[in-house]
Structures are given as structure tokens and as C-alpha cells.
């Protein structure tokens, strides 16, 4: 069951808000205190990546973060609405100048760095992308009972 859904405009200053919300909900879900820093970092990386993709592809839709609390695990999904796949690549490639290609290369490098950090941090991670957008799903085990209100 989705505990919290967060939609935010693709602006870098909202990424901090997403980190704070994710860490607060993770704590309440019973994620170990020692792991909360990793949750903050991983969700920050995923959201930064999504914001970067939306900005560089002129996508005006918001970034969507879904925080899901299950019995034994806490999951976070970060979804972007940037089309991926061969057809999208072909569309993006049309009419580019060399400057734009360089910018794209830099953006791609940052994108891969973010994904590398997430893979290093989170044991259970899944990255999907299709023509409707991309999704990063991460989960952490929860300990004993969740924090009561």
C-alpha cells in the first residue's frame, strides 16, 4: 500500500524536500536508524537524476516519488516521464548542434554517476525505462514494529 506520494516540479531545490520526506517516512516505517542516511542519499540521487532528465528533455510534468510501506520492507519508487528506448533516442538525436551533444554527454555522465551510487548503496534496486518514462525502485528491510504515532 502506498503510504505517501509526492509530486514535485522538476527543480533542483525540491530534491531536498523529497529527501526529508523520504527519510521521515522511512523512519516511521521502521527502517533502521543506521540506514536512514543511505535512504536519504539514494532517494536524493534518484530524484536529482529524474530532475536532470526532465530539464534536459524539456519535460514539464512533475517527478513522482512513491513511498510504500510493506510488512517487512520499505520501498521507494522515483518515476520520470522522459521517454527512453531506441525511438526516443532517434527523436532526441535529430537536429542537434555539437554544443548540445557535449551538454548531453556531461548530463549522461552525471546520470550514470547517480545510478552507480544507487547501485552501490542499495542491495535491492531495479531500474526500468520504456517509452513512457523511467522508474527506479529501491527497498530496504524494516526492523520490528514501526514507530507508533
Amino acid at each position: 500500500m502506498a503510504t505517501v506520494e509526492l509530486l514535485f516540479s522538476a527543480l533542483p531545490n525540491h530534491v531536498r524536500t523529497a529527501r526529508l520526506v523520504a527519510a521521515a517516512v522511512a523512519r516511521r516505517a521502521g527502517v533502521d536508524e543506521a540506514v536512514l542516511d543511505e535512504v536519504r542519499l539514494a532517494v536524493g540521487e534518484a530524484c536529482s537524476r529524474a530532475v536532470g532528465l526532465h530539464v534536459s528533455n524539456n519535460v514539464s510534468a512533475p517527478v513522482k516519488v512513491t513511498l510504500i510501506e510493506d510488512e517487512k520492507k520499505f520501498s521507494i519508487q522515483v518515476a520520470d516521464e522522459v521517454p527512453h528506448g531506441p525511438a526516443a533516442a532517434q527523436r532526441n538525436g535529430r537536429g542537434e548542434t555539437s554544443g548540445a551533444v557535449l551538454d548531453d554527454a556531461a548530463a549522461e555522465e552525471e546520470d550514470e554517476m547517480g545510478l552507480a551510487v544507487i547501485s552501490g548503496l542499495v542491495d535491492d534496486v531495479e531500474v526500468k525505462a520504456d517509452e513512457t518514462g523511467g522508474l527506479i525502485r529501491m527497498s530496504w528491510p524494516t526492523t520490528t514494529a514501526a514507530v507508533l504515532p
Binding site: 533542483p12 531545490n13 530534491v15 531536498r16 529527501r19 542516511d37 543511505e38 536519504r40 542519499l41 536524493g44 540521487e45 536529482s48 530532475v51 536532470g52 552525471e110 554517476m113 547517480g114 552507480a116 551510487v117 552501490g120 548503496l121
Partner: protein
């Protein structure tokens, strides 16, 4: 928390004291500061990160960019911190091998290797 930056000169080194969170929103300010220092001829930098609460891959990218710039002038970029919190991202990315890391500013300022 926003990013705070201040600089001071110790001998031939420039110490950049950083506080707060370095992420996709604040990292450009740090990048500007490092670029400005190098453009002004400061090629031996010590970045004091003791006051940093959060650092992500965007921040790492800025530090690596700073290192590239000072190395182009045969300079150095040393990092100072004592906390475990930001060490993890350096370990994951293997950057602990790239940056000289010190536990105090005094140590970094007097280092010559």
C-alpha cells in the same frame, strides 16, 4: 540547510570552509567558488568539509572538477573531514584513492606529498 562557503589563506594554501548540504541545488555555488579561486591563481586548495551534513554525486562531480582544474596548474586539492557520514559515497565511488583526505585543516595545510 543551505550551503555556506568561506575562504581564508594559510601560507600558500587557500582553505575553503564548506557547511550545510552539497546537492544538485547547492553544488553549482561550490563549483563557482572553486572556479573563481583557480582563475584568481589559487592552485593549492584545502576544502574543509567538517560542517557538511550531506554530499551527493553532484557534489562529488564538483570536487573532481576542482581537482582537474588545480592539477592543470600543478596544484593540489585536499579534503578535510572526520565524519563517517560522507565517507560512504567516497568509498562507493573509489574516490578515497583520488583525493588526499586529512583529519584536520592543520594537517592538510602542512602536507607536502
Amino acid at each position: 540547510m543551505d550551503l555556506s562557503l568561506s575562504t581564508r589563506t594559510v601560507g600558500d594554501r587557500t582553505v575553503v570552509e564548506v557547511g550545510g548540504e552539497i546537492d544538485v541545488y547547492t553544488a553549482p555555488k561550490l563549483r563557482e567558488q572553486l572556479v573563481e579561486l583557480v582563475n584568481d591563481g589559487s592552485y593549492h586548495l584545502v576544502v574543509d568539509m567538517e560542517g557538511v551534513d550531506f554530499l551527493d554525486s553532484t557534489g562529488l562531480g564538483v570536487l573532481v572538477g576542482g581537482l582537474k582544474r588545480v592539477r592543470a596548474h600543478e596544484g593540489s586539492l585536499r579534503l578535510v573531514w572526520n565524519q563517517e557520514r560522507i565517507l560512504k559515497i567516497f568509498r562507493i565511488t573509489g574516490l578515497t584513492k583520488v583525493f588526499p583526505i586529512h583529519t584536520s585543516v592543520d594537517d592538510a595545510v602542512s602536507a607536502t606529498d
